[in-house]
Amino acid sequence: MKKIKLLAAAALSVAIAVPLAMMSTSAVAAGERYILVSHAPDSDSWWNTIKNGITLAGKQMGVKVEYRNPPTGDLADMARIIEQATASRPNGIITTLADFDVLSGPIRNAVDQGINVIIMNSGTPEQTRKVGALMFVGQPEYDAGYAAGLRAKGDGIKSFVCVNHVISNAVVAERCRGFADGLGIKLGNSMLDSGQDPSEIKNRVLAYLSANPKTDAILTLGPTSADPTLLALKENGLAGDIYFGTFDLGDNIVKGIKSGIIQWGIDQQPFLQAYLPVVVLTNYDRYGVLPGNNINSGPGFVTKDGLTLVEKYAGEYR
């Protein structure tokens, strides 16, 4: 009896080990291997575009690209993942630089071990230089927020609330700061820590708007906060009435822009942030060619005009 149970346990573990082993051997079969490490928790849908971007780039370039992230979004865990990625000796690492203090050490270690690194999405050109990465591909967040603030100011906005679903990401909070500076007002209490859960976000937005009825505008920082905010506005009847701008695109955001609830969306074109680093790294490894500067993937304002292609690929490649 005991032996049967032990045998069963052994058989079960083999049943798991075999597919895993096959998966990992197929991973080695392709040419160059790159790893993209993001700071996003599993629940952040925006990163799906990134995954599609690296899959497409991997297919076109004939390389293997793996995607990794800390499941809860804990940046200390992300540092461990970068260390792990380094230890597995890939040809290159593409990573975000969401917190310089935490991540600069592990990234520097990778660079000094001869692994090429490209910073994407979060970080600044200065930080990129400091950690020794090849380049930065992304949207300068403060500038993007500032541009949006100027635009809103032109539309007569005097107060706003910034719905921040990634309060831990200091770089993303820069968007709110830039927006406030663009409007020429103080950020003060206008940044709302909404959390990641859709119904929580919706209720917090509702609560904020009923507590602060004089709010002119809403700024959301991505689909995670924009989608529930759309629902909230439909519920309290402010949809189309209140000035609504958002960062990033997604299915619902595009629909919102089309129906006039959302005035504009700022597309930082995550596809380029994922696709270009893979292409750049591969060409650098194969032929030694490297573009001479950082690449700005955004900001691009998406408004009601010219939505067709955006609509077609929203959530997939946009």
Binding site: K2, K5, A9, L12, S13, I16, A17, L20, A21, M23, S24, A27, V28, D42, E66, Y67, R68, N69, P71, T72, G73, D74, L75, A76, A79, R80, I81, E83, Q84, A85, T86, A87, S88, R89, D99, F100, D101, V102, G105, R108, N109, V111, D112, Q113, G114, G132, I167, S168, A170, A173, L187, D193
Partner: protein, 383 residues
Amino acid sequence: MTQTAEAAEAEAAEPEQPPVDERVKERSKFHQALIRPELGGIAGTILVFFFFFLTARDSGMFSPSGVLNWSIVSAQFIIIAVGACLLMIAGEFDLSVGSMIGFAGMSIALLSVSLGWPVWLAIIVTFILCMGVGALNGWLVIKTGLPSFIVTLAFLFILRGLTIFAAITTTNKTIVGGIRDVAEGDWLAPIFGGKIFTGFFQWMGDAGWIETFERGTRKGQPVVEGIPMLIVWALVLVIFGHWLLTKTKFGNWIFASGGDARSADYVGVPVNRVKILMFMFTAFCACVFATAQVMEFGSAGADRGLLKEFEAIISVVIGGALLTGGYGSVIGAALGAIIFGVVQQGLFFAGVESSLFRVFLGVILLLAVILNTYIRRMITGEK
């Protein structure tokens, strides 16, 4: 001739038997040596290493930097698992461990960077604060008679909220950096964030036995500089916890308080004191985790330690402790933490598709617990 020999043999086969008590079941020495809560953990650990040796051997998982990677992650789990283990054996839970990690880290950062206190003072004050919150947790559980599950769940929210509030109101940011600069030359900080045996690793690097950096300012230095204090803390806590639990009177009190608090009370065990002290010890462990993390990374974030309470509890349960209290082992919890850490990092090494990562993690952890439970039942004979 042959008859006498046979008679002698028969005589030898029947020596004088000691009186046998029929109530005592006979157990072989081997069997006796096996009856320990950590046996399942030992088997699981061997299985997990065997498994990753098969699937991820060539991925760098067993290179020095790879080993250091999963060792650090395991050591982190061990630190919080030891506290959670002793508390669970004493019959209580602490769900505020994760929030406590964020709280402690932010406390050190705000006191030292924003208020300009010396780092050693910030660390000591934070330890006192955390153990105070731990004591408050325990006191509330004892006084109200509510399940510790509920009381500490409340503190999960309270501490996390306070952490974000304190960070936002004092610095306008949720991540407070710059601790590395203020910790420069501090006497207490290296005890949490330093590395030992650096000379030995440099020597191995010079001899070409371990990898060294290929380029940059640290060219020629070994990739693995030394053993981080985090791992030392994990070992010290395991040894202390194991000693406390198995070699002291207090250890018996812990088992008794968790096994049956009322009976323990009747025979004179100070149950309330034991439980409150265990809550404080859990808080202490969380604070060690947070301090080591802050000193290593040089910054504190309001969202650090998310879900760590469950990771601690999972490690303890994999290690063979019972959720109901009164049974468990610190060594087992440490092995559980190693299994968890190795599986988590090992899956990355094995190149598992990221969206399936949690599925594999869940399945392997479930298998570890099932295997563990079976082995325990086989050995102890419990049904």
